[in-house]
Amino acid sequence: MNAAPTNSVGPASPPTATPPAATRVLLIEDSPADSLLIGALLGDDFQVTQTPGLREGIAAAHSPFDIVLLDLFLPDSRGLDTFTQFQSLHPELPIVVMSGLDDESIAESAVHDGAQDYLVKGQMDEVLLLRAVRYAIERKRVERALRDSEAFYQSLVENLPQFIYRKDAQSRFTFANRRFCTLLGKTLNEIVGRTDFDFFPTELAAKYQADDQRVMGAGKLFETVEEHTPPSGEKENVQVVKSPVFDAHGKIIGTQGIFWDVTARVRAEEKLKKAHADLARSREDLLRTLADLQRSHNRLKEAQLQIIEMEKMQTIGQMAAGIAHEVKNPLAVIRMGIDFLSECPVAAEEPGTTVLRDMNDALHRADGIIMGLLDFSAPGKVDLRPGDLNTLLRSSINLVKHEMKAAQVTVETELCENLPHALVDAIKIKQVFVNALTNAAHAMPEGGVLTVRTYIKKLTPEEAKPSPGARQTHEFRAGERVLVTEIDDDGVGVAEDKLGRVFEPFYTTKAAGKGTGLGLTVSRKIVELHEGTIQIQNRAPHGARVTITLRTERG
């Protein structure tokens, strides 16, 4: 650092052409003649303080001086040691050493050790002396600035909490900061000249060198976060910035890297990510639980409705049985009365004939209602035997053929042949069919076409599920083969808001006297005893469809 060219200019401050005030010179010289000569050569621009010995000189140097002219041969010190002593105590001062002609080599040694210049007594003139003094001051200033600058950068490099290194083009370390040395557990000397392969596992070292090549190849900065395992210690995450090092001509001569521990940050990020995921999962769990709760709630609600309905049914059933018994006796009296009158002369002529016929019709109607009530209240018992639905349907159609003809309803059948047998109570299921056929005819007061259809189908999982609100005491299985009977009419259909009520007891959409309001209630009860389902839907563009689904004989 002490061999800078004499005319170089330091970066720290602009050069000064002339010292602003008189330059203060400490002259340590025991020879009065030489002192006089030097003082004279320096002239008025210099304020010279002279001391004859090293000890006095060292003491005097505590006052501010711009330069020291030091004779190497003094009474209390001789040779290079004179310079060494003084410099060690006042390293901040520029020193020009002086020697005799014989001792020039010692003076050169002093310059090598840090003196700014040397003068040979007897060879100095004004120009030489002044130039030596000015250059010495200037050189010391530049040197100090350089040292400051270096100290600044060094302190930066050494004190930054980052690991810093430099490598040459062959990926050999040329520098490592203290932190990096500590990390490797080596001294700088043990690091410089070596490569990553000397410190890291082969795989990792190869990767580092590949990164170096990449940086040098691209001539660009490279940044990454990588996992780093120090020779001793656990895995860490480091953020790495590598950049190329250029020489004065812009040629890439190596790489430098700076990296620092981001383990805490990465762990925090991972923790955060995990927390996020946990949160998302918790949210999903919560939503699922909520959905489960909703489903349970719905099922409970359905169950509750069923219980209410069942209780209603039971109450109605008991009531119906009571009413039926009470009403049947008076009806029996009227029945006998009508039969009695029919044998009397009054029956043979009008208006007696009409009156008796009307009474007879009214009695039939009343009896029908009571029958329905009894069917409804009768304890649920079915006698299930294998039976052919098509045969039962044909027989049911036959039972209502007069009614159909009177209502101008044409019955068409689309019965699937070779239908497997169903397990049915023939009499009861016929009652269901007759009821559905009669209802269909009633829905077509102007006449129309009634279509009866049978087929077999395999239930999809969707179809096997009980329809919302459906009252089901059992469930079909997905994939189960079931027998479907459809009875379609092209009549008026059922108002959408009333579809849900048609199975309720005593609910009827028919005109007064046309229906008991029990037909479908009883039908449903019968179908349920068969572990089947009955549904009513509207058809597009008009009309309604009754769908009865029953199990096959094999179930």
Binding site: A324, R335, D339, D375
Partner: protein
């Protein structure tokens, strides 16, 4: 032909009266009404019916129980009984509902059905009598005439 003697036991007087009037109008039956189940057996012993029409449910006495007591009676144990009931449906009746081995007719019953059922019961009784007579003859050897 002598009118058949029919005893009708039912707690409802209007019911028994209507059946009596209707059946008697046919001139083929002579009908006695009894509205008190408790008196039924006494009345039966006195009236000696050819057939009994019996309501199943009456206050105080179970129709089925009464039927068993009638059947167990040494004097008129062989008299056919027809049950009348308000608690059975026509369909159940059509399926041949019987109580204690007797036919069961649901109320309200038409005159036609009632008469048919009674006549069937008489015919069955007559057939049984013939059979019984035949077997008695068999048991006693060839035509033992008194």
């Amino acid at each position: 032909m002598e009118p058949k003697r029919i005893l009708i036991i039912d707690d409802e007087p209007s019911m028994t009266r209507m059946i009596r009037l209707t059946l008697e109008m046919t001139k083929r039956y002579q009908v006695r009404e009894e509205n008190q189940a408790a008196h039924a057996l006494t009345t039966a012993r006195e009236f000696k019916p050819d057939l009994i029409l019996l309501d199943v449910i009456m206050p105080g006495v179970d129709g089925g129980e009464l039927a068993r007591r009638i059947k167990a009676d040494p004097v008129f144990g062989q008299v056919p009984v027809i049950f009348l009931t308000g608690t059975v449906t026509k369909r159940e009746a059509a399926e041949g509902a019987v109580t204690a081995g007797y036919p069961l007719l649901p109320k309200p019953v038409s005159l036609k059905i009632l008469v048919e059922t009674m006549e069937n019961a008489f015919a069955a009784k007559a057939h049984e009598k013939d059979k019984a007579a035949a077997s008695t003859k068999e048991a006693n050897g060839e035509l033992p005439k008194k």
